[in-house]
Subunit: 265 residues, 2 copies
C-alpha cells in the first residue's frame, strides 16, 4: 500500500492540523485514483444532518473543463494548474428523488434546507482537505464558488436542488510557504457569553497582523493607508458583495430553495 | 505531555476519519483546559476566507448556561450532559470593528458575507471535531443551531454581525456505537458533470439503507410505510422547515446581513 508511506511522518494529527498552510502551486503530476477515492471516502464518513448526506462532489480533472471553470474563480491559476478540482455542492436533489420514489412528499424547497445542506457540504470539504493533507497533498479553498454559482451550475450541469458552495484545488505541493498569521485565540473564543470588543481589544488583537512586514508591504503596494482598506476598497468591496449577494439569492430561488412563503399547514 | 499519549493508537489519520462515529453519551468527567485549548487552536489554523477569520466560538461549560441552551436544541440530552458545548458563529462584527478603527468602511452587511462567514465557521467546527476525535474525545453536531438562532443569540449575548451556525457537544465517550450506513461513494461523486439520478439509480443506491434492520425498525416504530416518510412526515417536516426558514431569514436581517438592496455604487 503506497498509500500509507506518505503518512508515516505524521506522528500526531493535532500537530498536522496546527501546521496547516494553503498550497496554491502544484507539481505537474496527477493525483492517483486510489488517493482520490480514499480522501472522498473519508469525507463522506463525516457527520451529516440526520444521515441524509445532503451534498454532491463534482470531480474535475479534464483540462477543458478546468478552463471553463477558471473564469468562475476569477482565473486564479490554481484552477487550471491543479490536477484535481473538487466542487462541493449543497444537494437535496438526490434526497428529494428518494422521497418521491418512496411515497413521501419532501418539504425541502426552502432556505433552512439550503443552509442545512451547505453545512453538510462544507463539513465534507474540510474532512477531504484534512485527509488530503495527511497524505502529503496540498489544498486550496476557492471562496469564489458562491460568487459565480450560476455559471458553475451551467458548466457542471447541476440540476434544481443543487448549489455549489465551495471548491478545493488539490495536488502535490510545488511550494513551501510560511504559515500566515492568525489572531490570538482569546480574540476568537468567548467563555459562556460573547464579550464584545472594545477599540483597545481590536487594536491589540490586530497589532501583530498589521505590523507583519508582508502585510505592511501589501498595504503600500496597494497605495492604502491601512491594511483594512485593502480589504474594504480592493479585495472585498461592498459593491461586489452586494452584486454577488443578489446573484446568489437569485440562484437559491432558481435552484428551488426559496419557497418558504408558500406554506399552507 | 499527557496530551500525546491518547493519540498513539491513531496510526493513520485517514483511518481515523474513516472510523468516524457520532458520540452522544459522555462520561461525567470534564475535558481538561489544555485539551480544549489545543483543539480550538487546531480549529483556528484552518483555511479562512482571505485570512479574515470570520467566526467566533462560544464555549459553554456552566451548568446553568447549558440548561438555558438545551431548549434551543429541542432538549437533546447531549446539551446538558456534555462537559463542553461549543457554538460556532459566523462573525463579521470583529472584522467590521477592525475596519472602522482603521479608517476603512466595511461593506459586509449582505447575504454573501453571511454565507462566507458561515463557511468559515463550519470549516473551523469540522477541524475542531477531527482534532477532538484524534484525542479520543467524542463529538456530536447539533443541526438545530440554525432553527432557534434568535434564542441562541439572546442567551449567548451575540451582537449584530454574529449568527450561530452550528454547535458541537464534546466529551469523553460513554458509548461505543456501530458506524451508521452511508450511501455508496458513486452515488455522491460525479465525474466532470453532474449525472442526474434515474429512479433505478436511487433505488439501488438507497437499497442497503432501507434494508438495514435498524432502519426498518425505525419506520415501523413510527408507523410509516417507508423510511423516507419518517423524514418527510416526522423528523424534517415541511411546516417546520418553512417556519425555521422564515425565522432564520429574520435573524439574518436583524443581525445586519440582508442590506444588499441598498447599494449605491
Amino acid at each position: 500500500m503506497v498509500f500509507y508511506l506518505c503518512t508515516e511522518k505524521i506522528k500526531n494529527m493535532v500537530e498536522q492540523l496546527l501546521a496547516h498552510r494553503t498550497i496554491r502551486k502544484y507539481k505537474i503530476q496527477p493525483v492517483e485514483e486510489e488517493f482520490l477515492e480514499k480522501i472522498l471516502q473519508a469525507g463522506c464518513r463525516s457527520a451529516t444532518t440526520g444521515n441524509m448526506q445532503l451534498y454532491s462532489i463534482i470531480v474535475t480533472t479534464d483540462e477543458e473543463n478546468k478552463k471553463r471553470l477558471a473564469p468562475c474563480h476569477f482565473n486564479q491559476p490554481m484552477v487550471v494548474n491543479a490536477p484535481l478540482v473538487l466542487t462541493f455542492c449543497a444537494d437535496f436533489n438526490r434526497f428529494n428523488k428518494w422521497c418521491r420514489v418512496s411515497e413521501a412528499e419532501p418539504g425541502y424547497d426552502n432556505f433552512l434546507s439550503f443552509v442545512t445542506a451547505s453545512i453538510d457540504a462544507v463539513i465534507v470539504a474540510q474532512t477531504v482537505t484534512i485527509a488530503a493533507e495527511s497524505l502529503g497533498l496540498g489544498v486550496c479553498y476557492l471562496g469564489t464558488t458562491t460568487y459565480m454559482a450560476s455559471r458553475i451550475i451551467d458548466i457542471l450541469k447541476l440540476p434544481k436542488g443543487v448549489v455549489p458552495v465551495t471548491t478545493l484545488t488539490i495536488g502535490w505541493p510545488d511550494e513551501d510557504p510560511e504559515q500566515v498569521d492568525r489572531l490570538p485565540l482569546k480574540g476568537i473564543v468567548h467563555k459562556e457569553f460573547y464579550a464584545d470588543y472594545t477599540e483597545g481589544d481590536i487594536a491589540s488583537m490586530y497589532q501583530e497582523k498589521e505590523n507583519r512586514p508582508e502585510n505592511r508591504k501589501f498595504a503600500e503596494e496597494n497605495n492604502k493607508k491601512t491594511l483594512a482598506q485593502v480589504f474594504t476598497d480592493i479585495r472585498y468591496k461592498k459593491s461586489d458583495n452586494v452584486l454577488f449577494s443578489n446573484m446568489l439569492l437569485e440562484v437559491l430561488k432558481d435552484q428551488g430553495y426559496m419557497n418558504q412563503e408558500s406554506i399552507i399547514e
